[in-house]
Amino acid sequence: MVETRPHPWIPGSTEESLKKMLDVIGVKSITELFNDIPREVLLGEDEWNRLEIGVGRPLSEIEAKEIVDEKLAKNRVFNPPPFMGGGVYPHYVPPIVKYIISRGEFLTAYTPYQAEISQGLMQAIFEYQSMMAELLEMDIVNASMYDWSSSIAEAVLMAFRVRKGRRKILLPANMNPLHKRVVETYVKPHGLKLETIPYDRELGTVDVEALKSMIDNDTAAVYIQYPNFFGIVEDKAKAIGEIAHEKQALFITGVYPVALGILKPPGELDADIAVGEGQSLGLGMNYGGPHLGIFAIKYDMNLVRQMPGRIIGLTTTIDGGDKAFAMVWQAREQHIRREKATSNICTNEALMAVAAAVYMALLGRTGFRRLAELIYYRAHYAASRISEIGLRRVFKAEFFNEFPISFNEAGVKYSVIHEKLLEHGLHGGLYIGGYYPELGETALYAFTELHSVKAIDRLIEALGKVIREVGR
């Protein structure tokens, strides 16, 4: 059946409009406009319509919604949300954030190539850059990368350009293992070396003595993450930065921005580049994206010239009368520089940056501290309670929001616990024994403002029951 009714998303699909346009062009039918496609590859209408695309026919909005609804009913919703982190955390999203990024002028805009008609969007992005800079205490923030992992990868490639000739990057074993895979992917074509700094088996922190023995004049950068993948506050972060700088290597830090409510910002640790995941700032987890890659540097022209991504700057109109915004340092970008660009990034996560701007504005000067304290108390409450049911934290060093729990001593497999928790309507932590075989049956549990003490009590009770039933 050929659909001939006018389509709501195609204004020219009425008989009248169609005829008018064909007449002006001087052709009898639309298909004439495709006569330069070689016959060997030109698809017949029937041939195309027989392909499995959608349900094989156009649907009304009502029908489409019904179909998707039926599928989404198969997803299982957890309340409280999974006690899971590992780089992505269930956080509360204030409705204001969604409301602002739903506004069509932001939502349906393109990259602001025409400055004068896009000032509001550019100001919002400038304010994202500026508020993020305050949170990180870094000077320059770009208008976003895809996610934390690709930000690290870009930071590493940037370090090789800034420290030209050096061929080695030191990455800690206690960083997110998925992030590490992304860095490996980005670096591999350039034949550069990544080496892993071991972690202290008892504390869970970076092994600083090992780092000292690994760093040399071939090292372009040292990366650390704090809190690290085990949720632990790297208390030697400043010293690690100093060790890097002594060898003229760049110091790159990765952060979970919510933690900066109570942890020292990268700027104060003298980081050259700070990266991180902005998902916690008003974005959903969305099964992996869209998230928000944070990328920041200190004010240093050698770094600026090699920085990836889009940056909005404050300026004035030509007559000097008004403040205005424009894209700056575009000579680094792909649309100008082509194969000599600092990165190929073009479409980034601008709308997510606007969302984060709204979120940061809502929390303001004191909100981050309050939020971080709340999360700290809840995570530590949970840590204290697990000892009552015969479980223990794996590492001794101070943590922030998440920590690995060992099930080895209880003699229970992670998978058994996971199944039993599901029966209780709870989704437990993330199994990390696969990434760290030396840890055995170990899972990383995370806590946020969405995990009340009541929810934590429910978790502990369920865990305790499982341990009593199946543990040794």
């Binding site: 998303w9 195609i10 204004p11 020219g12 409009s17 495709f34 070689p38 695309i53 959608g54 026919r57 156009p58 919604k65 998707v68 599928k71 009913a73 997803n75 299982r76 919703v77 269930p90 409301y99 002028e105 393109y110 008609i117 896009s118 304010e127 500026s130 508020m131 800079a133 305050e134 949170l135 000077d139 320059i140 992030h179 992917t185 704090y226 506050v233 099964y287 994206g289 300026t315 915004f325 894209m327 970008e333 792909q334 649309h335 660009a341 073009c346 479409t347 980034n348 601008a350 997510m352 504005a361 000067r365 909100g367 501290r369 304290e373 700290y376 409450y381 204290s384 996971h418 003490v453």
Partner: protein, 521 residues
């Protein structure tokens, strides 16, 4: 003509608003039982933040007003036509926004048990299949977060192909036409290849002689769009594919311009091995002011190693959804042994992907073909309206129909009276239109690359053409006037030189403050 005037509210910077002590969001107090048990917060002193970040302090209503005012000084498809060539700025149907915002999607952790996300995985699995059918490929991977990210995925796959075949040392070059998007050469360079540029011929096709002269032993692959950025279908595509394959090179399809041929021709049938798609272009997801996007890559499954049974798609980076018949479950397969790896930590950009799913579901094959027909129709309608208008010409491909876009040039106007493509763009803004892509493709001087898409009304296209004619008239009668444009936007012409001047450049409020204090010169 439209009497357009954009909001001009001189909204202060957020740092200039609010008042000490105000708060826009209440964080719950920690429960007493937790406080009692935990005691004081015990962060090692060397890692404890000593001062709160210098963020503005605003009440909720002030935050809402501020960003609402900013939105009014912005412009998207919801305001009017955005004919940015190659960016494909079509209307974004809101039914998809509503579905993508469903809490049953938004609140899913990417590492949670697969059995608890079966509905989402089923959707993604179907999307993979539909995109494969649309492109004529065998496998689609939804991992890349944007078109350029998809390109990187594609060129890394090309790299792996030659690596697995043990010929990477000699396969050093990627060939790219001079009309290509800047992301193509940038992506090829990120994958460690040398970029060889080839010229376009007068008819808009690739210069075949030039191509033949550079294809050889060292050719790892070729990246092209089809239709090209000139809006022209590459007529020699089959010959090109044959030539490249003869030298064991991979042909990469940049899907930025798929909107011009969807339903009429498929990259897989044209001989392409790998294609990326832009969900935020062809499949109706919004651009969000520059993202999020989604750039799936689709792959034709040629054999790479018959002994080890390695197919080309096994080399692609990222996760894919597979259906396990034995359990009846959808599963996420991580990058396998031969894969190029991971390009982001987790799955893909779900929001635009869901948007694309709803769009394709709603359209069906008939609707998608109709999209292309009307995108092409309105482009040629516009071209006809712009034929023989003083000050403009339409270089390359004389007499040929355009597909999704048409590149005008304002070069005659620039040469004769000094009014440039940029001036023309500002004149369009003044009439309430967004401007076309200017100064691209690089091979057209004073380029005005225009793409309306099927979702623009013919009436707006007529008004747009009228305005271009009016601009021409003004340019020839009073060539200094266009330099004073725009006048009806939130601000007048922006000082971009000052924005970039080393003594002034201000990328954050922090730099502004440090400059005021004399800490940065």
């Amino acid at each position: 003509m439209n009497r357009f005037r954009q909001a001009r509210n001189w909204e202060p910077l957020i740092f200039e608003l609010g008042s000490k002590g105000r708060i826009g969001f209440l964080v719950p107090e920690p429960e007493d039982v937790a406080k009692k048990r935990v005691g004081s917060i015990d962060i090692p002193p060397e890692m404890k933040r000593t001062r709160d970040p210098e963020l503005p302090e605003l009440s909720e209503v002030e935050v809402v007003r501020h960003f609402t005012n900013l939105s009014q000084a912005s412009y998207g498809v919801d305001n009017g036509p955005v004919p940015l060539g190659s960016c494909t700025m079509k209307y974004n149907p809101r039914i998809a926004w509503e579905i993508a915002g469903d809490p049953r999607i938004v609140n899913l952790h990417p590492l949670q048990d697969e059995r608890t996300v079966q509905g989402l995985l089923e959707i993604l699995y179907e999307l993979q299949k539909w995109l494969a059918n649309i492109t004529g490929m065998d496998t689609c991977i939804l991992h890349p977060a944007a078109g350029a990210h998809g390109e990187l995925a594609g060129v890394l796959t090309i790299r792996r192909y030659h690596e697995v075949k043990n010929q990477l040392d000699k396969k050093t070059d990627i060939i790219i036409p001079d009309s290509a998007h800047g992301t193509n050469p940038a992506s090829a360079a990120m994958a460690g290849f040398r970029v060889i540029e080839i010229p376009s011929a007068e008819d808009g096709n690739i210069d075949m002689e030039a191509l033949k002269s550079v294809v050889g032993e060292s050719t790892a692959g070729l990246m092209i769009t089809n239709p090209s950025t000139l809006g022209l279908f590459e007529e020699h595509i089959l010959e090109i594919a044959e030539l490249l394959h003869k030298h064991d090179a991979i042909i990469y399809y940049d899907g930025a311009n798929l909107n011009g041929i969807m339903g009429y021709a498929r990259p897989g049938d044209m001989g392409f091995d790998i294609a990326h798609l832009n969900i935020h272009k062809t499949f109706g997801a919004p651009h969000g002011g520059g993202g999020p996007g989604a750039g799936p890559i689709c792959i034709k499954d040629r054999v790479v190693d018959s002994e080890k049974n390695i197919m080309l798609s096994d080399l692609a980076p990222g996760y894919r959804v597979v259906y396990d018949e034995s359990t009846g479950l959808y599963r996420v397969k991580g990058p396998g042994e031969y894969s190029a790896g991971l390009l982001k930590a987790f799955f893909g950009n779900i929001t635009p992907l869901i948007w694309g799913y709803v769009y394709i579901l709603s359209m069906g094959p008939q609707g998608l073909r109709r999209v292309t027909e009307h995108a092409v129709l309105i482009t040629n309608y516009f071209m006809k309206l712009m034929e023989n208008v003083k000050g403009y010409n339409i270089p390359y491909g004389r007499g040929r129909f355009r597909k999704h876009e048409v590149v005008l040039s304002a070069q005659p106007m620039t040469d004769e009276v000094g009014v440039t493509a940029e001036d023309v763009a500002k004149g369009l803004l003044d009439a309430g239109f967004y401007a076309p892509t200017i100064y691209f493709p690089l091979i057209v001087k004073e380029a005005l690359m225009t793409e309306f898409t099927e979702t623009e009304t013919p009436e707006n296209v007529e008004k747009y053409a009228e305005r271009l004619k009016e601009i021409s008239k003004i340019a020839y009668s009073n060539p200094s006037e266009p330099k004073t444009w725009p006048r009806n936007t939130s601000v007048g012409r922006v000082d971009v030189l000052k924005a970039n001047h080393p003594k002034h450049v201000t990328p954050t409020w922090r730099v502004h403050v440090r400059r005021m204090r004399g800490e940065i010169q």
